[in-house]
């Protein structure tokens, strides 16, 4: 029952359109992957280049943030508004982040050794 759906053959035009659409989407994913690899290189490069840590730390954290958003919205399809329950999912993800952030902040600021 849970695995049932209505089976319908696509017209030739629709089939070709969907194929093309999927291929275009895949090309976009590869571009996003190239951006992630590039950001990774930059992150390693600025550390190896030995700039001041006060400059490097915010930069590599920012690069990590961009990479994660790319992963979530591109590879993990959070950009897909038509996906089932995407509103619920986005609410859960960001409220999870919101709830845990004060915990994180507490640990790194007022807990000491």
């Amino acid at each position: 029952m849970g695995h049932d759906t209505h089976v319908q053959a696509k017209s030739k035009k629709q089939f070709e359109y969907d194929r093309h659409h999927n291929a275009m989407h895949m090309r976009k994913q590869v571009i996003n992957f190239a951006i992630m690899i590039f950001l990774t290189f930059v992150a390693f490069a600025v550390v190896v280049a030995d700039f001041s840590p006060y400059f490097i730390k915010p930069v590599i954290l920012l690069l990590a943030g961009i990479q994660v958003v790319l992963q979530l919205y591109s590879f993990m399809h959070m950009d897909d508004k038509k996906a089932s329950h995407m509103g619920v999912i986005a609410t859960f993800v960001w409220s999870g982040v919101l709830i845990i952030f004060p915990v994180f902040l507490t640990f790194v600021t007022i807990i000491w050794w």
Partner: protein
């Protein structure tokens, strides 16, 4: 139905969410990931507050311990495995089962490469005396990176099971959501690693 045979022409759009079961799996894996976000945030916070802390005269510090070339290769392996599982999902959309199996297998191989390097790294640390109980720093480090490693192991076992169990079944609406959920979990492993290589390795080398 589980036994309905599809062709590329009859394969529905968003096949992984075409059934109630598929939609449930999709929301389910995401809710699990949200709980995992809080788990990893806690071990990250623990690591940051205990970094370089330990008994007086402790000889190990992050700046001396971590080596960037190894972390770089591990990052590249895991990032690439993320792309190969995107390729698998592309073939899933086109109802090309062989493509799904091949790209998922490549994902597993890259994941195994990552895992092998991580085991080598841990073995090396323990060998030079930086064991789990050596200091607060070492416990926090192994807990954080080890928890991620455990996720990699679980992801690999999961994907291998999918590949083996569905080898003769072909692609249908019963197993498409399973592949899709595994791929989302695999991407999440990569998301966590992005933070690990930034916060542990890059910022560790900076001291």
């Amino acid at each position: 139905m589980e036994h309905t045979k599809f062709t590329p022409q009859t394969w529905p759009d968003k096949a992984e969410q075409a059934t109630m079961e598929g939609r449930n799996k999709f929301v389910g894996i995401w809710i699990f990931i949200c709980s995992d976000i809080t788990l990893f945030a806690s071990v990250f916070a623990t690591y940051l507050s205990l970094k370089d802390k330990g008994p007086a005269g402790m000889e190990f510090s992050a700046a001396e311990l971590f080596e960037l070339p190894l972390a770089f290769v591990m990052t590249m392996l895991l990032l690439t495995s993320s792309l190969t599982s995107v390729y698998a999902m592309y073939h899933l959309k086109n109802h090309n089962f062989k493509g799904v199996q091949i790209w998922m297998s490549i994902t597993v191989l890259l994941g195994l490469g990552f895992l092998a390097l991580e085991i080598y790294e841990f073995y090396h640390y323990v060998h030079i005396g930086f064991g789990y109980t050596q200091s607060a720093f070492s416990s926090a480090f192994f807990t954080l990176v080890g928890t991620h490693g455990l996720h990699v192991v679980i992801g690999l076992v999961w994907i291998v099971c999918l590949i083996v169990r569905n080898a003769k079944r072909g692609l249908n609406l019963y197993n498409a959501p399973k592949y899709y959920a595994a791929s989302i979990f695999w991407h999440f492993i990569d998301v966590v690693w992005v933070f690990i290589f930034t916060v542990v390795y890059l910022m560790g080398v900076l001291g």
